[in-house]
């Protein structure tokens, strides 16, 4: 049984990452690896779709915080969207819901990115 599935696709100069599964101490290193590879290439915009993530722990949140901070250093952007109830709660409990650019869906996230450029 696969605990986590990560798919990524390139759209213009942006990369969309679809994560499927629980994000916890077991799986967050896999997500970190994917994100850091993109950051190393200085991807201008990374979109993280969390529609199929029903659970995220502090290691998952920490991975996204690290990616956000590293991307900011070269002027990159990190957008997250489709947060499900329990995942949204973790961001609120962590008081990080205002730190990230969180959007309801891909269309809104893309619109925000294009409006900025």
């Amino acid at each position: 049984m696969k605990m986590l599935d990560i798919q990524s696709k390139k759209v213009d100069n942006a990369v969309i990452i679809n994560i499927k599964g629980d994000v916890d101490l077991y799986s967050s290193p896999q997500i970190r690896k994917v994100l850091l590879e993109l950051i190393q290439k200085e991807s201008p915009a990374i979109f993280v779709d969390l529609q199929e993530v029903n659970y995220m722990d502090s290691s998952g949140v920490a991975t996204l915080v690290e990616a956000l901070q590293r991307a900011k250093k070269y002027g990159g952007r990190l957008f997250i969207y489709h947060l499900q109830g329990a995942v949204q709660d973790v961001f609120e409990l962590s008081r990080l819901d205002k730190v990230f650019q969180i959007y309801p869906d891909e269309t809104e996230a893309m619109k925000a990115y294009h409006d900025e450029n």
Binding site: D24, L25, Y26, S58, S59, G85, D89, S94
Partner: protein, 138 residues
């Protein structure tokens, strides 16, 4: 006398999900709302992750015992490990205005649970006691 359920998992991250499913189901079964059950599950999961990371210094075949005592007005979790003793004075939530990865687990546990107590008075290992009251039944 409380009703008691006990789980035991090896301190391996891949088994955390099994524990989460059990805790969530238990919380819903005894009357916590979905949101409360999710949050309690998060707190127990964070506690078990901390055992793996800090008490056992990484994945280990050593056990994590999770004892759940159900009382009329609350549920109590006793999370026991047999690893390195915790320095309770150093276990702190991070400052939330400091945006950095890590240090969030303890904050989440303390935010979600009503009572959080560390017991290091064991010959080997630690025990964390976490209590959540049923709303309106304190």
């Amino acid at each position: 006398m409380p009703e008691t359920l006990e789980f035991m998992i090896p301190a391996e991250p891949k088994y955390l999900k099994i524990n989460r499913l059990s805790i969530k189901l238990l919380c819903e079964l005894i009357g916590f709302s979905t949101v409360e059950s999710n949050n309690i599950t998060l707190a127990i999961d964070e506690a078990c992750s901390n055992v793996i990371r800090h008490a056992y210094n990484g994945p280990s075949k050593e056990p994590i015992h999770i004892k759940c005592n159900i009382y009329g007005n609350k549920i109590e979790f006793l999370i026991r490990d047999f690893g390195r003793k915790a320095n309770v004075d150093q276990i702190k939530s991070r400052e939330l205005d400091e945006i950095r990865p890590g240090g969030l687990g303890v904050h989440l546990i303390k935010t979600v649970m009503d009572e959080v107590m560390y017991d290091t008075n064991f010959e080997k290992g630690n025990q964390l006691k976490l209590i959540k009251h049923f709303k309106g039944r304190k």
